[in-house]
Symmetry: C2
């Protein structure tokens, strides 16, 4: 064995216990009335912690009643989830499926619309991965919402008739 390595070294993080990472302080970028629906969601931004740029990895907790997002699909970015704890319901525009620990699901760009909803009485924890292909748009088949990303990756939201929120 070589020399022991501190978990924190020269300002760069090598490895951490994911659950010990501080939650993201900004709860959501959604406008109301959608932002309030995210109150049962806590995200820990694991990928950013290590300086990853090409994709994001979050450890996300959904309290009972919590939702992962508004039902949506991306135009360019892929998404992947892996369930660690609890039994969320995967809601899509083609039906629903209860997930369990050790299950995973993937959502290619322009695929089915999707969200996770925690209809159980215990917390759900999962990993979510999404890439950062620029120029992405989000479409929301059940809500009056359209999202687009600017050059810095920030989401802006409009009504479907074009009015800003």
């Amino acid at each position: 064995m070589g020399a022991a390595m501190d978990e924190q070294k020269a300002g760069s993080t090598i490895a951490v216990q994911a659950g010990a990472v501080a939650p993201r302080t900004k709860a959501t970028s959604y406008p109301e009335p959608f932002a309030s629906r995210m109150s049962g969601r806590v995200k820990r931004q694991l990928g950013d912690l290590f300086g990853l740029r090409n994709f994001g990895v979050n450890l996300t907790t959904l309290l009972p009643g919590g939702e992962s997002s508004i039902l949506h699909r991306h135009s360019k970015q892929d998404e992947f989830i892996y369930i660690l704890e609890g039994r969320p319901t995967l809601v899509t525009d083609e039906g629903e499926l209860e997930l369990a620990p050790g299950m995973c699901a993937g959502f290619p760009a322009k695929g089915i619309a999707h969200q996770l909803v925690n209809r159980s009485d215990t917390a759900v924890t999962y990993l979510e991965i999404g890439d950062r292909t620029p120029g992405d748009e989000g479409t929301y088949p059940k809500d009056d919402l359209v999202a687009s990303q600017d050059a810095d990756g920030r989401w802006t939201y409009r009504h479907k008739d074009g009015r800003p929120y």
Copy 2:
């Protein structure tokens, strides 16, 4: 609750138990003598199963003595790992660290060189994520190996003096 949804639908996979996915049949693209070192490694390609293109997600098992890869870094692609079971040793060119379930690590392009080695007597299972930014190269600080990806993402390997394997 809406209509029940089959896990397999119209040829596209919605969600699966990750451990039930068939392992990749090609064990490694490394040339010898490196290929034989990967005999204790089993990869289940979860992202590909769902048609994801922008990044790959594997559920990887390392048997006792197994290695995740040769010690390496990427020039353009980021990597991330999340430990599900077992206690692998994270070996880098800056030291070593034993990992445990619930720990994660990230390796930005051009960062520290890294590999996982299972020095324990029980299997290690982890998720590994890597993006597919084109034109990537792999460098191997401890071995006589240089890797580059062609336009289709296939790796080709050379000795450090340029000779092919």
